[in-house]
């Protein structure tokens, strides 16, 4: 049992869900860092303020990211967490581990850190919580030996992440795992040597279910999609109806564009109006299959609210064929990053820059044609601002 009294933290253990407090108490039995961490967290709840000082040391030899410096502001009370740095370890694409790989990672962390992990952080990385400054380089050396590398942090390309894709999912329209791995390996320098105005996130989802939430989180989102009609097996549709599924109520009425009709015998889809929400396919996976031609939609500008409000991504390429070596995709990424690097203010995300300068400026700079799918809110605000010279060309 932990030695400290932690009445406030104890309350967190009483809820319905597994509590991190229980894990920390277990870790505290064998690691004094975890013991002091409990104490500091209890004090934070009591004082209603965080007791961490962020920032400082950022990496190991040759790297400018992957380590996040963290120090206690009460080292007098909690000397074992005076330095409690976080290490971000680049996760395997799709978060597939073999058990021996996980054991190697944990062994390294038991040797050099608090033993506490966050598997996984919202960035996707395996987050190793709490080590001291003198252990950073040896820990990195051991991680390297075990086949791991650090991920991105700070004003860098953050560790790209992808859904499980074709590894486990029948709906993957692109090989999200391979694309993510390729991008990760191609842009190692951008990830480890921060030179951007701010963070830049790339996330790859195999289908429009968007299981990595790229549309809301990534500056550059790749979302698998299809061309062509949704394929319908009417026999299976009838089987779903016979098994009790209310197709009208649960499928057609919930279609966001109302592009489906069900007459009690046959299902019809107006594919031109389909926005790829995946609701019908998710619900009747035996009856409906995506169209035959597969590729991805490229979107930009998503971000969570930090300096400015949250932004959802914006379509810039409605359909791109994605096959190795993904030259078209990587060329587009470079053009976008180059423009943002040139014009972005410090701590300005790509979406904010586009909002400030305008989509037409962005499109001209990266050499993309304006297409109807770029209208961000077509059903509520269909307006697009063209360049005056383009209007002159059209209006004669």
């Amino acid at each position: 049992m932990a030695k400290r009294e932690t009445p406030l933290l104890d309350q967190l253990e009483r809820g319905k869900w597994p509590s991190f407090v229980k894990d920390m108490k277990e870790a505290a039995e064998k690691n004094p860092m975890a013991e002091d961490l409990l104490g500091q967290l209890e004090l934070s709840y009591k004082d209603k303020i965080g007791h961490w000082k962020h920032g400082g040391i950022v990496g190991v030899k040759g790297y400018g990211s992957g380590v996040i410096g963290r120090y206690s502001d009460r080292p007098d009370l909690f000397p074992n967490v005076q330095a409690f740095h976080t290490m971000r370890v680049n996760h395997p694409t799709g978060w597939f581990y073999k058990t021996d790989a996980l054991r190697r990672l944990c062994d390294v962390w038991d040797k050099h850190g608090s033993g506490l992990t966050n598997m996984h952080g919202s960035t996707g990385d395996a987050i190793l919580l709490g080590t001291t400054t003198d252990h950073i380089q040896p820990c990195f050396d051991d991680l390297t030996e075990a086949g791991y590398d650090l991920g991105g942090s700070g004003s860098a390309l953050r560790t790209p992440s992808a859904c499980v894709g074709p590894g486990r999912c029948e709906w993957a329209c692109v090989d999200s795992l391979d694309i993510c791995y390729d991008i990760t390996m191609t842009y190692q320098d951008k990830m480890h040597r921060p030179m951007f105005p701010y963070k830049f996130k790339i996330k790859v989802s195999g289908c429009p279910n968007d299981c990595v939430a790229s549309i809301a989180r990534a500056d550059f989102a790749v979302i698998g999609t299809w061309k062509g009609d949704i394929r319908i097996d009417q026999g299976e549709v009838e089987a779903y109806a016979a098994s009790g599924l209310d197709i009208q109520k649960e499928v057609c009425d919930l279609c966001p564009t109302k592009c489906m009709e069900w007459d009690g015998k046959r299902l019809k889809i107006d594919n031109g109006d389909c926005t790829r929400c995946m609701h019908c396919i998710n619900l009747m996976s035996k009856a409906l299959r995506q169209g035959g031609e597969r590729g991805a939609t490229i979107l930009i500008g998503g971000k969570a609210p930090i300096l400015q409000g949250a932004l959802l991504s914006w379509v810039i390429v409605p359909f791109m064929k994605l096959e190795p070596p993904y030259e078209e995709l990587k060329d587009l990424i470079l053009r976008i990053q180059d423009w943002w690097d040139e014009y972005g203010k410090s701590r300005e995300r790509l979406g904010e820059l586009i909002k400030r300068l305008g989509m037409r400026v962005f499109l001209r700079a990266v050499g993309l044609p304006a297409v109807p799918q770029m209208v961000k809110a077509p059903r509520t605000n269909p307006y697009v601002f063209f360049w005056p010279e383009d209007i002159k060309k059209e209006v004669k």
Partner: protein, 74 residues
């Protein structure tokens, strides 16, 4: 050319670090030299980092650059 620019960038850091401010965004460094190529400056900054004359400082979300001699001691 690279050595000249490297010296110029290093001198820029020394000049700008004379006041209280010691940490700079890469955007600020690029702006000190409006006539120079942005990517060339980034390249020499990386060289200066390799030489351990400069160091990164990061809050976790943003990264700054500073002269190694001013890097805070623990």
């Amino acid at each position: 050319m690279s050595d000249d620019l490297k010296a110029k960038v290093l001198d820029g850091f020394r000049q700008k670090s004379m006041g209280d401010k010691k940490m700079f965004y890469i955007r600020e460094v690029v702006r000190w030299f409006p006539d120079e190529d942005r990517q060339a400056i980034q390249t020499v900054v990386k060289e200066l980092l390799d030489d351990e004359v400069l160091r990164y400082w990061s809050s976790g979300s943003s990264t700054y650059l500073m002269l190694a001699e001013f890097f805070p001691k623990e």
